[in-house]
Symmetry: C2
Subunit: 206 residues, 2 copies
Amino acid sequence: MTSLPLTLKKISHFLERLPGIGEKTANRLAFYLLRMPENDLKDFANMIASLKSKIKLCSSCFNFTEEEKCEICLDKKRDQGMITVVESVLDLLSLEKGGIYQGIYHVLHGRIDPLNNIRPEDIYIEPLIKRIKNNKEIKEIILATNPDMEGEATAIYIREKIKNQFIGSQTKIKITRLAYGLPIGANLEYADYMTLKKAIEGRNEY
Amino acid sequence: MTSLPLTLKKISHFLERLPGIGEKTANRLAFYLLRMPENDLKDFANMIASLKSKIKLCSSCFNFTEEEKCEICLDKKRDQGMITVVESVLDLLSLEKGGIYQGIYHVLHGRIDPLNNIRPEDIYIEPLIKRIKNNKEIKEIILATNPDMEGEATAIYIREKIKNQFIGSQTKIKITRLAYGLPIGANLEYADYMTLKKAIEGRNEY
């Protein structure tokens, strides 16, 4: 790397800090940037410089936004009584892609993960409970944390937390979890044991 | 993507234009940037904005540099009589890594590739010939274009070009090509036919 000019070396080092980018990829990206139009680079630089000051978390669901509330929460056409709880905004984007879901969200920004020292109070669980308490419209909470150990633990924790909250109260909130099973286009031959087990347990009349 | 704030969306779109980065990776990178320290982002933005004005090509070997000549060409300890011809600065960096090579370079910034409309005059072959003509110190040209069809064609083209240049002249410049053969740590079982053929043809006494 000694043979690279300083600016390129610094850009390359910065890119190497991003997830999934090693030294060679970082160099390749830096060289590619060098060939892009000057104006595009200037625009990109401006956006990067203002990124942190512009982007905030939605005061209601913790999705990213440049305003007080995010577009989804402000969308009057969406069902404000149905909240899907996701670990990250990336998960939210996946669910948004097909336009299959018409409710709103709650982004936890993490999951309970004791091995990595992430406790329930480190993610946005408490604001979710408050949100449910303060909004009588809410009819269903869909737990859409990831189907792995930490995601499962987080879903269970939230379920119990909500149930405890409403013991003895008249409110009847439905708590659901995304379905487990074989992904579309999958091959039984290559499916793992746990997925097959869940697919059998969750079989439906046909 | 409609649910992302504008700045994030634009950064993500920009990153998607880079090689090997799809929509999901672009989003993940943009979100990661959001969590980086403000100052680092500002520094990065400044570097990006000044990148194109700062980085030039070395007037001698066409490596990237911020000065008139690159560090390698200016390094008096290196053998100025030995030039390794590479397709790109990335290739130069690979050769520099181990510190095994102590000569200087010539970067073509491409290879002859008629299918993609890249002709000999589109890459820096002519300056190489001039460089050899004007510098009587040069004793050896190592052709280090890639061992594939286009790289091979480029190497042959340059070899003939240099030879023609010095027909009848007293100068005796050695033209060499990197060795072909099995890469270290390879397994014969998985080696391809062409590599094995070259390894047998190039066998050495042992």
